[in-house]
Assembly symmetry: C2
Homo-oligomer: 196 residues x 2
DNA sequence: CGGCGATTCATAACAGTGTTGCGTAGGATC
DNA sequence: GATCCTACGCAACACTGTTATGAATCGCCG
């Protein structure tokens, strides 16, 4: 039953796909190496050969999640008006989270006990800031935004988006709360707060 | 070894205390019913009598966490100027989170797999909004803030605070980032965005 | 005041988990 | 074509939360 000398890439993808499905269907708790291996037709040891362990398998899902996030952010059409553009990115952020809620959980909550993102994963997550920072930098340069380090403003905008989505997912928002409307208003008000 | 007919309140407190210590020391992953029971000098079944199971035990820690949070929020001295006061509450929010990081993890990340807050716990968490909402409501009434539902503004402010703290804990912020300064600036800018 | 029913909690077993030695099949290398 | 190396199957290990059983003892009612 040996495989080629290099890791079996097809098996790796099958494991990753199925792991994503299991998590999407029943949450992170439902991801068991035994079940995963059985579904894919291999054994748990394969996960250790290919990834190193369960945390590293989840780590692969983590980078996949940020890859998708990044893709959706890049696809947002921009106008050049900073408040509008920051609001659009924020809305896309929420749409992305709603599209892959369980991936979002892996990225931003510690829903898989042993898993801690490593340095490479953290670098990747910080890359999410890039489009935000570009917009902010231009706005500061043009004097539309106050003269504060673009990084600070960008992080602030990311914070609102992330915080509201996080509260929504946690069930911390009031019942019968019109999340979508409030979310957009909050994004816009926050961005406006940086106007010069 | 029977205990009084009513639950042994002292044992309940000892379990809760020790559980908090274990989590504070080594994170949520380190909370095992066996170790907890051994440390306290009882058996795992006591947890089932007193709480119902591990999720419910964690639920008790969840409400304890929000109780402390609420206490710290109430202790914040207010000035009557909404932007300033909202900023102060936001800073207190971060201080609270840093003071009890593992309790914070229980409250806002799903770090204990089986645990989902029940309705009562959710009501409690939403009570965190109360002081924010009072400030906002007054500011809207006085015409200092724009005429938007106070709930929406309050949730927005909570979102920034929560989001930034959450990103900080997740390691999503840039390295060598002056979190404290940026955090305060972001809170202030966000609140200012709601000025009429 | 005494006995009964109810309930807490100890003991031990169960089902499940991630992880790890061991063994082996079979491509890669010379 | 012989040899090495490695991915991976099997089975065991240590651990988890949970639960069936049973003993001890309290609150309650006559």
């Amino acid at each position: 039953m040996a495989r080629p000398r290099t890791h079996d890439e097809a098996l790796r993808l099958k494991l990753l796909d199925r792991a994503g499905e299991l998590i999407t269907a029943d949450g992170a708790k439902a991801l068991s190496l035994r079940k995963l291996a059985a579904d894919v037709g291999t054994s748990t040891t394969a996960v250790y050969s290919l990834f190193g362990g369960k945390p590293e398998l989840v780590g692969a899902l983590y980078v996949e999640g940020f890859r998708r996030f990044g893709g959706r952010m890049d696809a947002v059409g921009l106008t050049g008006e900073p408040v509008e553009d920051l609001t659009r990115l924020g809305l896309a952020y929420r749409v992305s989270a709603l599209a892959d809620p369980h991936l979002y959980a892996i990225m931003f909550t510690r829903s898989v006990p042993g898993f801690e993102p490593n340095d490479e994963a953290n670098d990747l997550s910080r890359a999410t800031l890039k489009p935000l920072e570009d917009i902010v930098r231009a706005a500061v340069a043009e004097g539309v935004f106050v003269d504060v380090a673009p990084e600070v403003i960008a992080v602030g905008c990311w914070g609102v988006a992330h915080g509201l989505v996080s509260l929504e997912f946690n069930g911390n928002l009031p019942p019968e709360f019109d999340v979508a409307t409030a979310y957009e208003a909050a994004l816009r008000a926050n961005a406006s707060g940086w106007l010069a």
